[in-house]
Amino acid sequence: MLRFALHRLFGMAVTMFCVSIMVFTIMELPPGDYADRYAFRKFSGTGVNITESDIQNIRVQFGLDRPAPERYFDWVWRIVTDFDFGQSFAFETSVNDVVGERLWLTLAILYATLILTYLLAIPIAIYAAVRRHSAVDYGLTVVSYLGLALPNFLLALILLYISVSTFGSSVGGLFSPELEKAPWSWEKFVDLLQHLIVPAIVLAWSATALQLQTVRATMLDELNKLSVTAARARGLPEWKVLLKYPARLAVNPVVSTVGFDVNRIFSELPIVALVLSLPELGELLIQSYLDLDMYVAGAILMMLTFFIVVMNFVSDVALAYLDPRIKLEGG
């Protein structure tokens, strides 16, 4: 198990290395560099003329005169050692300040969505499979087709409309206005959880629909296994039979697609965030592309891929734990 985990951990490091090269290449693509922008900003702001040598000075000051590979290693080194993602052109401050809280709020949305998805999909699907052809089972099929068919920005708008018109509350944002700038407190935490519900429902919607179908199908498959009959024939109480044997295996496809779900949540997040005006990374990422604010974009891309890679690792290890047949193949 340890060897397996180390093996996957190494794979993760290699992935991150490749991703960092790709991200850095993307950052280098737009014409001009930070010095040009700095000069242009200063010129447009103050009208003071900037000479080529001033720009060159800025380049030297920020180390931009060095060749790309050197700057790449410098960039990576700072991230790894100081968690320093460089400077934002647009905000004229460090990327860390710009990204700041949005990172944690994005993670809050991510985990709220994942937890909601699995908390709904797994028990309901298992119940529906055990009570096949029951009202719950048929209801589930209808709901999950609806879930797959309805685009989530539409759902976001509907929920937004309902909560504003019937409850008069603001679903936009992640905090109530009066708590927005307040320091962290229990009250603020509860406020955050309340605001997380709508985005989590919107983002969990289609994933839940999909996972309901997968878990139900796997569960039905597992219920017919001879090993389940054999467990019954040993005299194990029915609920223990269900939980110990088929249910445990029915969770496997969910566990193995955690990384996929994270990926999908990150790609759907910007649109949902736009509708619900959530302060998260996806929206900032789009904004930074528009501003050609490449260090911000680079930082966000690195962070998002890092979480996908980490969740993939967690999923691999969890799967190896759940299914002992995997360990042998994994090495």
């Binding site: 001879l226 090993s227 467990a231 005299g235 299914d323 002992p324 047949r325």
Partner: protein, 371 residues
């Protein structure tokens, strides 16, 4: 394998041994989209202490359904007819009718793996791939074995019984104790390095070893009756012979009764003291193995045995009887076998249903030819 010897046992002590299971007029039907399908239509047979009953018959004849009814391990759409009696020795030495008990009752759960253990055709699929062999054996052990069982007959009064059951509840084995028993059982079924094997997953064991482990699981709780549903069909011939020998040995050691389901008359001749031949949900003939093989009375049994020219080349499969088995949805009127019977009496066999007739010597047949 010394077949003569094992068949020889049959002729002695045919009726003395006490019944562990006594099934009378068992009828099982299924609710399906096409209507009610009767899969088992009034069968009666007994399984006796220390003896093996062979259940033989073509696919779909109702061998699995009639034996699974004993532990109520039937699909949800199965109905056991209220006129059926399944009298079983649940542990106290006397027979109780378990037919009316619901499948999810505590009593049935105690019987499963307790008084009645089962092994199945597919050793590959009988164990869950995600738990160790030991885990699955220990599960059975902890469900049924108690620290110290009081000797038989010690629980006479109701008060005694309550005290005993309370004590039994408390005396549940620890995981460690159950694990030890699992190792001991693996050792007993001839698995070498049992203390290592116990920690392995099913996919790390060969098919033959898995079936041995399955037998170990079944026998770990000292059942009175072992139902073996084609336990060797999926194994190759050498392994099959080893498993059959092992089962015979363990039966001699533990004195349990075995119901052995198979398609293979050769295997029956090797392991069974008594045989029941099933066709389309009924037992057409039953009796001591040797007598039945040497002198079959029912035309279907004759057909089954015709494919076997000599007693020493018995290991042939059953496909000899010409014609197809009718679908259980379209059961023929009269004798179930009349559509394929070479000795059919026209005007009689297609109108009346033959009843089971005792022929003496523990033999029974359902055919008008023997009235």
């Amino acid at each position: 394998m010394d077949m003569e010897a094992s068949v020889g046992v049959t002729s002695t002590a045919a009726t003395e041994a006490s019944s562990v299971l006594d099934i009378r007029n068992l009828k099982v039907s299924f609710r399906t989209d096409e209507g009610i399908v009767t899969a088992v239509d009034g069968v009666s047979f007994q399984a006796r202490k220390g003896r093996t009953l062979g259940l033989v018959g073509e696919s779909g004849s109702g061998k699995s359904v009639s034996t699974r009814a004993v532990t109520k391990l039937l699909p949800k759409n199965a109905i056991i007819d209220p006129g059926s009696a399944i009298r079983l020795d649940t542990g106290n030495g006397s027979l109780t009718d378990v037919a009316p008990l619901p499948a999810n009752s505590r009593e049935i759960r105690n019987i499963r793996g307790g008084a009645v253990a089962m092994i199945f055709q597919e050793p590959m699929a009988s164990f869950s791939p995600v738990y160790t062999i030991g885990n699955q054996i220990a599960e059975a052990v902890r469900l049924h074995r108690r620290a110290a069982l009081s000797p038989l007959g010690a629980t006479e009064t109701v008060g005694d019984q309550i005290a005993e059951s309370l004590r039994a509840q408390n005396a549940k084995l620890t995981k460690q104790e159950a694990w030890e028993i699992a190792i001991e059982m693996l050792h007993k079924v001839g698995i070498s390095n049992a203390n290592l094997r116990v920690d392995q997953y099913p996919h790390e064991l060969s098919g033959g070893m898995r079936q041995r482990a399955m037998i170990a699981t079944a026998l770990s709780t000292h059942p009175k009756l072992l139902i073996a549903d084609e336990p060797t069909t999926a194994l190759d011939v050498t392994i099959q012979a080893q498993i059959l020998e092992l089962m015979g040995q363990l039966q001699a050691d533990l004195g349990m009764s075995i119901i052995f389901i198979t398609h293979d008359m050769g295997v029956i001749a090797q392991v069974a003291h008594d045989v029941a031949v099933m066709y389309l949900g009924v037992i057409v003939e039953r009796g001591p193995t040797r007598a039945l093989i040497e002198d079959p009375k029912h035309p279907y049994t004759e057909g089954l045995l015709q494919a076997i020219p000599r007693m020493d080349v018995l290991s042939r499969r059953l496909t000899p009887v010409p014609g197809d088995i009718p679908s259980p949805l379209e059961r023929p009127a009269g004798c179930p076998f009349q559509t394929r019977c070479p000795k059919r009496i026209p005007g009689r066999c297609d109108r009346e249903t033959p009843q089971e007739i005792g022929l003496g010597g523990g033999r029974f047949v359902s055919c008008f030819l023997h009235e």
